[in-house]
Symmetry: D2
Subunit: 147 residues, 4 copies
């Protein structure tokens, strides 16, 4: 096997991400994690547009997240995503937000595939499910957000 079953996405903390406590507003880690999932999907050829065009949407069903250390303004953070399972209309991922060698936040998310009109569960398209299960990213393919 070559490559890495984990997808990485680097980002910078901007003032818009912080709160009066001087740290990243904890809610925003979920935005960071979604940016990472979006880029993971894009790296497989699925941008949000192409998913919407199939009348599908991914919605988050379940989040369990632990906050371990506070990130701050100007920090460079590395967000990761690894697919744990893809079954029927659901996908599970493990994600983390890391600064240098410290984990700031980590969690598991369950995502459901639904039709965009009625938001009813829809089986994840077979080829997409297979690609998600088998995806491996080379370090060189990691997506950098070179701020």
């Amino acid at each position: 096997m070559v490559g890495n079953a984990e997808f990485f996405f680097k980002l910078r903390v901007y003032i818009e991400d912080t709160d009066a406590g001087g740290i990243v507003y904890y809610v925003n880690y979920l935005k960071y994690m979604e940016r990472c999932r979006t880029e993971m999907m894009r790296s497989l050829g699925y941008d949000k547009g192409s998913i919407f065009n199939r009348d599908l949407m991914f919605v988050v069903r379940d989040v369990a997240i632990q906050y371990l250390k506070p990130a701050r303004l100007d920090d460079e953070l590395m967000v990761s995503a690894s697919v744990l399972s893809v079954r029927g209309a659901a996908m599970s991922l493990r994600q983390s937000v890391v600064r240098a060698d410290e984990v700031m936040a980590q969690g598991e998310l369950k995502i459901a595939c639904v039709d965009s009109a009625g938001l009813r569960p829809r089986r994840i398209p077979k080829i997409m499910a297979q690609e998600l299960r088998e995806a491996h990213w080379e370090s060189g393919e990691m997506l950098w957000n070179n701020n």
Copy 2:
């Protein structure tokens, strides 16, 4: 004439609204102003849903805003909106955000009425235009957000 051509909306500053500078993130005043416009429209019987149902949408075309004083966590702010003009597909408003007797921010906005599919300009429905021009709110009708 009875009542007031200015609509008022009270709100509270939450941690989500602040930034690492310890003050309300300046971008969020525009959210406050939009909440006020939304409630002003609702007070005339136009919730966003009823506007969308006519295949119409209001989009902001132009904002000029001055920031005078910084609001802080826990502050109670009063947002105002007064309609300056309604012509064709466009509406102009003056808005301010006030804490006690201090103006924190004030501005003028130009809003366009567009069709929700193509975002092309559409004349503001005649009855809505008339109601906007003639609207007066009694103090007792002011919409309070009693936090």
Copy 3:
């Protein structure tokens, strides 16, 4: 015993809360839950300012949230919070976001009390802990956000 160990906070969904899927962006339910906790604390006499003044801050350590139904623009939502436990530097709460009689999202959160400078755990002040454990709100005291 009189009153209710659950605190309620009503709010309105604004355009700022939605995403291109036409529903409330799932991250924002955590903002709603925090507004509710903030008002719950305020109802006991603890605004954020008074907490900061003791050099204390509450930070979220752990969130487990399930998303059951999507809320939409203009929806009126009722957010609840009930204290499950208060021990040492930590507090656990159960929260939900409800529209009419449907639960949109529900979760459990673990909140830590820290010093605002170093973000190190600090015992929740004894009187505050006791008030949190024993708090009961009468229906009439429920905090309404009368949009």
Copy 4:
């Protein structure tokens, strides 16, 4: 003269940036513009941390922004910033948000330098002012956010 007096910053539109109208929530263009200004300052050696360390902060005093076309999910946008003037405690910039060859939004902003404790105007440090006035970026130095 070599280089370009305009600084460029590329970014991607994520679901967090959109609203139920299916377009980028107009308020978020101001976040994009601030990210660009932040990176422009960083390219001159001034990260937010280093500015805070001098007990200085930049706050926005005045924004005039025109919205010309709506950006959408997945769009790649190029944000620009060019310094118009630096005088005393104030700096003026022209900024735009462009998709391919279409201008989505453009504006002028006036930014004030203040002390971070009291938010009183403070002269922009002489060397910083000079660097801002004379800054030129080579195309190759443009900061890319390689999503």
